[in-house]
């Protein structure tokens, strides 16, 4: 029985792949009311995001299916998949919204299955997401009032005010979903408190739906948003604001990530920052930048799935999730170490992994648009990201084991390892063949958006008008150099001796013991506060604003609730008063009013 249930669950997790493979060119219509119908079709843009789903869901489902089956979670996961697929396949806003909402509430119900969720976390998650959904609804209703149709189609006829209204409403809706500042607070809370594996879905897949929405904006406002309000320098003026939102998000979230003490919170903030790049690139709107955005979306999905699944494995094995409580797992969980290593190289956007290709396209796009200040902000964020990437690998894997669980942990079960291996393989392959990704994955999407495809002379090569690089050569040279240097080192005379104890260190002339605090996991990054800009960023948070807003709303609620007295005489008095006042007014005006 359990086995059948699990198999069924795994089969469900394969549905995105099936949809992607079998859908073809057909459209599916479902009538609603008043002549409206839901229209489902598969365009290249949807196909790209469906591909992400198809990749991600089985890999998360595999470890989820471990242990005693959690029926409710399986059911909700199936609903979540249904919602996301509906959202992607929808050819009109109605279907998009329905899918969006199903996704929202099913993910909420999955979220609160964790024992870690607090009331605040759960409420923040659902209210931000519903605010996003309702903004989307408002935007599509304004769109409807302008065009008389819910089909997703270019909005060219409408007045400037109407188009700005649609742009801002939809833009806000999707920005909340990707967690742009200052609307991001649900992400660290949600990713942190969600069940460990579900965090992978949240960060890897659900957040991408916001990007899907943002990529619809160029569809609605053709000429890459430039149709909205002309151009600024070499890019669309409307996108400039969007780009700065993305850049500021990236910078602030990166510093926030550095200062986190909890692995999942750090990953959450890094997700915000990474998606900030994408937002910036979408704002730039040129084919290079949007290509970079799509590439980054792909890479970020793979990387975040990899990291969250790996850390879910670590939490499973050790029960610890803070940098301070782990350490030196490299010997005990070498597979996890490699997974995280590959993950952070992809996250930091370093060559030779594909994160670099994405960053390269985005940088070149910014130079092409002549938006250099944005480029500086992106650069700041992506170099600062090195610090948290280093924390991610140092805290759990290097240094000294800091808790009994970390000293005795063993490698995660195979259902966690298989996704790790698959994802690592995909990342390395994409790194070697960036041209393949451009040609096969990115270009069709660009063409749907009405942009010139980037193209690639060969699968290994990434080529832009500004120059490019060859992934195969890069990998060969680096690998070759590494092999040769290592071989020379081995072949040369001499012997190596492993230190007798982990405390055999050069330690300021003393001999450290087991009691000496040697793990530098928690404090790392703390000294950054002394830098004025970072100190300022880290000292400020939107939690106060949110708490204040909640307080004010509750106060208003209390005030209005106070109107509801419990005394029948007061009720009567009020009715009589209304009657008297209104009829006096009527009499004075001698008529209806």
């Amino acid at each position: 029985m359990n086995l059948i249930l699990k198999l069924l669950f795994l089969a469900v997790s394969l549905t995105p792949a099936l949809t992607l493979l079998t859908w073809g060119d057909g459209t599916l219509a479902w009538p609603l009311f008043g002549g409206f119908e839901l229209l489902f079709e598969l365009g290249p843009l949807s196909a790209f995001f469906l591909l992400l789903l198809a990749l991600g869901t089985p890999l998360v489902a595999l470890p989820m299916a471990r242990g005693t089956p959690d029926r409710a979670a399986y059911g909700l996961f199936a609903l979540l998949l249904l919602g996301m697929q509906m959202l992607l396949l929808a050819g009109d806003f109605l279907g998009l919204f329905i899918g969006w909402e199903v996704m929202t509430w099913s993910s909420y119900l999955l979220l609160i299955r964790s024992t870690r969720t607090t009331l605040e976390g759960a409420q923040t998650y659902i209210l931000f997401n519903l605010a996003s959904a309702f903004l989307l609804l408002a935007g599509m209703l304004v769109f409807y009032s302008l065009t008389g149709d819910f089909r997703i189609a270019p909005l060219t006829e409408a007045s400037a005010a109407g188009r700005w209204a649609v742009f801002i409403l939809l833009g806000l809706a999707f920005l909340i979903k990707v967690g742009a500042l200052p609307l991001h607070r649900w992400i660290p809370l949600g990713y942190d408190q969600a069940p460990d594996l579900f965090s992978a879905v949240l960060a890897g897949l659900i957040s991408k739906m916001g990007l899907y929405g943002l990529l619809l904006l160029p569809t609605l406002f053709p000429d890459a948003l430039a149709g909205l309000s002309g151009r600024l320098l070499n890019g669309p003026a409307a996108g400039y604001g969007l780009a700065w939102i993305g850049a500021i998000t990236a910078v602030v979230a990166t510093f926030k990530a550095i200062s986190q003490q909890d692995i999942k919170r750090l990953l959450a903030y890094s997700s915000i920052a990474q998606l900030g790049y994408v937002v910036t690139a979408i704002g730039v709107g040129s084919s290079l930048a949007v290509g970079g955005a799509i590439f980054q979306t792909l890479v970020h999905t793979l990387v975040k799935l990899l990291l969250f699944i790996t850390f879910a494995g670590i939490v499973l094995q050790t029960g610890q999730r803070r940098f301070n409580d782990l350490g030196h797992l490299i010997d005990r969980m070498p597979m996890a170490f490699f997974a995280v290593l590959i993950g952070i190289i992809g996250l930091a956007g370093m060559p030779p992994l594909p994160g670099f290709a994405a960053k390269y396209l985005m940088f070149v796009g910014l130079i092409d648009a002549r938006w250099l200040l944005l480029l500086a902000a992106m650069m700041l964020s992506s170099t600062a990201a090195f610090i948290y990437c280093y924390r991610l690998i140092y805290g759990p894997f290097l240094g000294h084991a800091n808790s009994p669980e970390a000293r005795t942990a063993t490698e995660a079960p195979w259902s966690y390892l298989v996704p790790q291996v698959v994802l690592m393989g995909l990342l390395v392959l994409l790194g070697i063949f960036p041209g393949f990704a451009i040609e096969v994955i990115v270009d069709p999407v660009l063409m749907t958006l009405g942009l010139t495809p980037i193209g690639a002379p060969s699968w290994g090569e990434l080529a832009t008008p500004y120059g490019g690089y060859d992934g195969v050569v890069l990998m060969t040279v680096f690998g070759g150099a590494f092999v040769i240097v290592t071989a020379l080192f081995w072949l040369a005379r001499g012997q190596m001796r492993r230190a007798g104890s982990p405390y055999d260190l050069s330690f300021a002339g003393e001999v450290p013991t087991a009691d000496t605090p040697l793990h530098y996991g928690a404090g790392m990054g703390r000294e950054l506060r002394r830098i004025p800009l970072i100190g300022w960023i880290l000292a400020h948070t939107t939690a106060g604003v949110q708490a204040g807003l909640t307080r004010q709303t509750l106060a208003a609620a209390g005030l209005l609730g106070g109107l509801y007295r419990r005394d029948p005489q007061t009720w009567t008095l009020l009715a009589v008063l209304v009657l008297v006042v209104a009829s006096t007014l009527l009499a004075l005006n001698g008529g209806w009013f």
Binding site: I98, L563, W592
Partner: protein
């Protein structure tokens, strides 16, 4: 005798059944009949749809209108009658199948619930102003007693409060009826409508105000709805389900029906009704944020939904009105579901306070799951029917380029989400449920869940296939809004 499908059965049959209750008691048929009578009426109503589709059915009693009294069954009233019969059927099934507390079994509730049905049906069917008053009192009296049925202190408090404020409302309405008669010499709605414009404006205003306040109290609009949380709190959840699902809808319909017929100038009526609707919506939703008792919370939420329906009905556009009718149906389903779940939870956890329900999902997972379904439905989240009706109304506003109601409705929905999800989170809190919860009480029989599951299924069905109801809802909106058509069908002449 040849059976004729006449609207009078909707009133006569439950009335007969109620008055011959001693007979049924002796034959042990109360449960069956409480379920059977509305079921028969439901089937009858469904069967009448094709007929009414052609032309409204008029059942005149003794003399033809405007002199005689008559029942007027058009698409709008048929839709509501169907809804009421369905609601009563479901509640009856719940009372029958779930091992309900003793005070909800037996003759008294049997009579009262059927009388409530009589009142509701009469309110929407009648074409006569004084009959309206009579049915208002029938519905009122049965509701007062139903509130107090449990016969303990909170229930009696609720019943008394309801009785006092209800009498005041009836008084206001009666005064309005008297004034109308004195001014026009007519009581037939259509005839009154025809001659209302001839009354002096100040008197018109006074009459309209009196009706608005009288019916406003009954249909729970904002400055007159302060009694609602108290009464809902004191009554049994199963009974409250009927108040929220049946009674309020009837009064709302009457209010709008009168407004359309009498208030010749829709622009003025629109301002009044939409303002009241908007106020009701926003005040109730905000006030609900801080409620710690599930019945009170549901009461406020119900108020909010009433405000929403009023807002859409008061716009007097065919699209929003159709949406509002659809929303009435959905809201009735949802509130039945939620109140019946509350009844189950109350029996299980012995309290409906927030802190006592923490972790209740462990004890009764199905009830908690159904609460989630209900919450999603009431919030208007797909794939449940509530979304489609909300969308319908919103689309009506968007069509008319009215943005502020859209913003208001969405804002209110967000606040509503704020408290519903708080309750969901509490139900699923990872703590052991309160000690009182899991002891002694035996789990409910599965049959108790059958009506609830049926409702959930219907909600899903309406959400997935809203076109099933499209014709009837649109026709209902048409019938409600088209004043001339009503006048013509009753009086035989166009206004």
């Amino acid at each position: 005798m040849e059976f004729s499908a006449s609207p009078v059965w909707f009133i006569a049959l439950p009335l007969l059944a109620a008055f011959s209750a001693p007979l049924w008691t002796r034959w042990h048929l109360l449960d069956h009949l409480l379920f059977g009578v509305p079921l028969v009426l439901l089937i009858l109503a469904l069967g009448l749809f094709p007929t009414v589709h052609e032309a409204p059915l008029l059942e005149t009693i003794v003399i033809a209108p405007p002199l005689g009294i008559h029942l007027h069954l058009d698409s709008a009233s048929l839709l509501l009658v169907t809804l009421f019969c369905f609601a009563v059927t479901l509640v009856a099934a719940f009372l029958w199948l779930g091992a309900t507390d003793s005070h909800l079994r037996g003759r008294r509730p049997f009579v009262l619930i059927l009388l409530l049905l009589v009142g509701g049906n009469g309110l929407v069917l009648t074409g006569d102003l004084f009959n309206l008053y009579v049915f208002l009192e029938i519905a009122g009296v049965s509701a007062y007693v139903l509130s107090a049925l449990r016969d303990d202190r909170p229930a009696l408090e609720a019943g008394l409060k309801y009785l006092i404020i209800g009498s005041v409302a009836a008084l206001f309405f009666l005064l309005a009826v008297v004034l109308v008669y004195l001014q026009t010499g007519q009581l037939n709605l259509a005839a009154v409508a025809r001659e209302f414009a001839a009354i002096p404006p100040a008197m018109q205003g006074l009459i309209a105000l009196l009706m608005l306040i009288g019916l406003g109290i009954k249909s729970e609009l904002f400055p007159f709805n302060f009694w609602v949380p108290d009464v809902y709190r004191g009554s049994d959840p199963a009974v409250t389900a009927l108040f929220s699902g049946l009674l309020v809808k009837a009064f709302l319909f009457v209010l709008v029906h009168l407004a359309v017929l009498i208030w010749a100038d829709p622009a003025v009526a629109r301002v009044w009704l939409m303002t009241l609707g908007a106020l009701t919506l926003i005040v109730a939703e905000l006030a609900a944020l801080r409620q710690d008792d599930m019945r009170r919370m549901l009461a406020y939420s119900s108020l909010g939904q009433i405000g929403l329906i009023m807002l859409a009905l008061g716009f007097f556009s065919e699209t929003t009105t159709a949406g509002a009718f659809f929303h009435m149906i959905n809201h009735t389903l949802v509130k039945l579901l939620l109140f019946l779940v509350a009844a189950l939870l109350l029996r299980r956890c012995l309290s409906l306070r927030l802190e006592d329900l923490a972790g209740a999902a462990r004890v009764s997972p199905l009830a908690a799951g159904l609460f989630v379904v209900g919450a999603l439905g009431v919030l208007g989240l797909p794939p449940f029917g509530g979304f489609m009706s909300k969308l319908w109304m919103l689309q009506g506003f968007a069509e008319a380029q009215r943005i502020w109601p859209i913003a208001l409705i969405l804002f209110a929905a967000l606040i509503e989400a704020g408290y519903y999800f708080r309750w969901i989170r509490v139900l699923y809190a990872p703590v052991a449920p309160a000690a009182s919860a899991d002891t002694k009480t035996t789990p409910e029989p599965w049959a108790a869940y059958a009506p609830l599951l049926l409702i959930a299924g219907l909600m899903l069905l309406l959400g997935v296939a809203p076109f099933l109801l499209e014709t009837s809802v649109v026709e209902a909106a048409h019938a409600l809004l088209d004043r001339d058509l009503t006048l013509q069908s009753v009086l035989g002449v166009a206004q």
